[in-house]
Amino acid sequence: MTLVQEAFQEISAADFFYRNRDIAGFTSPSRALYSTIRELVENSLDACETGGIPPDIYVRVSLESGPVDGPGTYVVRVEDNGIGVPGDIIPSAFGQVLYGSKYKLRQTRGTFGLGGKMALLYGQITTHSEATIASSNNPRKRIVEYQIRIDIQQNKPVIIKHKQRSNPAHWRGTIVEFRTEADYSRAMAKILEYMKQTAIIVPYANITFVDPRGRLYKFVRGTTKVPKAPTETSPHPHGVDVETVQRLLKITEAKSLQEFLRSHFQRIGETTARKFLHYAGLGQKKTPRNMGPDDVLKLVKAMKSYEDFLAPDPTCLSPLGEELLATGIKKELGVSQEQIDDGTAFVTTLQRKPDTYAGFPFIVEIGLASTKSIQAEGRILLFRFANKIPLLFDEASDVSWNVVNELIDWRNYRVIPGETPLAVFVHVCSTKIPYKTVGKEFIADRPEVEHEILNALRESGRSLKIYLSRREHLEREKKRLDVFEKYLPKVAVFSTRLAKEKKEPDVKQLLKGVMKYTAEEEGEEATTRGSTAEEEQA
């Protein structure tokens, strides 16, 4: 028997992600391309929204070598008009995987911009080439351009080239371009779906996409209104863990626990801090400096169980708003104002009041749409969004799917599932979306979140019901008129022939009068068709 010596070695953050790229959505060339585009587009959208700028995003994917219908080497280029990155931090912003040093919370699409770096990393290891990043954070200054690689083991950017270009067009924004292994033929459907749904949830963005086959896709904005950017807040005491508290204790300049609590957490003032410390049983003598591991644990446990904190501050959230969500839905479903006015299409949106789960604030926004362009295909169409990004995978595991397909009885709203064309849009925003897995593709069935989605749907379902009843009525009226228009002229022809008369009576007057008789007809004895119901007794 030989004893195997296990070799332990330290790995860098970049190395760690390199080794675990599967969990970040880089499992295959097709999935990797989808994830690459998604991460870069989301970074670009964040960069625009932070500056309150209506985004103009340009995406180009071109095939460099390889087959059209399989994995090959592609060049991906994403441009935006966001706030740009200061020249001196471009290399580390794109070439170093950072552990977030932030202790502040706000609603963002990604977490610490990790995804974008994974995309570059994946491109580098599959094509052995560098990435080009150009950015300007000031229209009056020159454009800074870098060619970099990531030193995976050291987790450091390696600068290959660095230059500055003049900026005659006063451009501001960021351009990222690099080679990567990809399979466009397989990723195409998902990429286009992603862009279409992004155009719904970011209706103030222009998105242009040139695909490897030279086709141009344009998603044009329906408004230039950009929702207020989220503000940063301190964490809520209900939503922290031991590690966070420990780190905060290490860096804090506070001298007392009271001061520590007031300066690093939201919803804690002097009185609350005093009452809470009494509740937690941490004496006057304890300071941030002399807290032992047991004290930290005691503190965190007390934070979780103390019930008198105010609910988390929702101002750090940036929901889309009812008006913008409606704009997005209408433009991507092709619903015009005329259709809404004449009752052939219906869109309603609803934003719920902020709520919290486990110390994190969240807001649920709902959209309901019914129009002919929605193909029912035997089910209700569900569009899921979290922090303004579309969720495209694992639909059936999502909390919204459960609410839409299991908890709501659509018949109460005059919806026949699978027959009535209906699309449901669910947008959850939070400082921490309760994803069930690392893949960030579906939201866990947290009872608080589920409850909010359910209530939102029930509330907006009422106006859907009114609309559907009205449409049913209109369709019945239309059918009714069609029946008279079909048969009355025939009655004229047949009776003329049967009576051996020459001139056919004019039925135009009667047709005009048809609408008036609805009420009378309802009360009449129902004798339909010529059939009597009895059995053949002969």
């Binding site: 009714r480 029946v483 008279f484 048969y487 009355l488 025939k490 009655v491 004229a492 047949f494 009776s495 003329t496 022939r497 049967l498 009576a499 051996k500 008369e501 009576p505 039925v507 007057q509 009667l510 008789y517 009378e520 007809e521 009449e524 004895e525 129902a526 004798t527 339909t528 068709r529 010529g530 059939s531 009597t532 119901a533 009895e534 053949e536 007794q537 002969a538």
Partner: protein, 360 residues
Amino acid sequence: MKERKEKVLSSLREMGSDVYGQLLKNDFPSVKMPSRSIANILYDDKTRQYILGKRSVKRSARNVRHIRPFTQLLWTAMFVDELTEQNKTSTLRDVFYSAQAYEMDFQDQQESDNLITDLESVVRFSREDFNVYPEERSAIFGDLTVEYTVPGYEGRQLNLTSHPDGVMIGPALTTADFVRPDKRRVDKVIAIEKGGLFTRFIEERVHQRYKALLIHTAGQAPRATRFILRRLNQELELPVYIFTDGDPWGMHIAMVIISGSANAAHLRDLNTPDAVWSGVWATDIVDYKLPSDPLTDLDIKRLNELEKDPRYKGSMWNREIDTFRKIRKKSEQEAFSRYGLTYIVDKYLPEKLKVKPEKA
């Protein structure tokens, strides 16, 4: 028969003029007809058949649920008017297809058949009167001469013994006039359920030996056959004897000939109240010791239904229903073959022709 045709035509046109007139006045036209719902079907002791009660329904072009059947009714009237006028006949199936040429989409055969029934109850004539016949056909054999009225055959005569298989009862025969036969040669009508026995009777010269006209009903007698039976009974005063299988279903074949069907309650002149069910009775099964089969659950169920039926009021009917219930057996007409092929004609028939009509 000619007069009858004139009446049919004028009745149809009257309906057309009525609708036409209403349209000229800018009214939504409507047609009144007796209700054929179960609640309105009554048994009439006087005519000894099912008739419709006083309730009527209005079918109006103003009602969205009525206008389609209303138009269909009018189309059907127009169609059969032209049919009758040109002395052409049609089948129920024909009507269904002809409608399609006018974009009068009947959903199915059932719907167009129902419309024909509606028309019957509006104009109070049966579909055979306006030349629409079902597909089913039965046959007649015997020493009766008929004179055709159909186009191309007007005035032509045919003796109904001229074909040994019998002559099919179709539109031409239904509308033919009878030449009054010599009572010494023909004095009764025998209706037979089964084709095999009908042929046997011809072979055994029953028509000569018993001076009978033989009619093969082929199961439940079609309306045209019931109409012929009635005419033979009323116009020529010939008594009618009916032979069926000895089971509840055979019994009811006889009953429909005698008292009509609920389905045709809106029509008259289709039943022969004085016709006689001569057998095979339940009591015959006992008296003649006929080979038999046990009654099935379905047979028993039918028996229970018939017992409640107002047509089965007479003592003979009660006796036979009771006997069926007691012996729980049934026998086919062919069961007499047990005593030899001619037994039924030689021994059984003369006995049963002595049966008198049941007085209700």
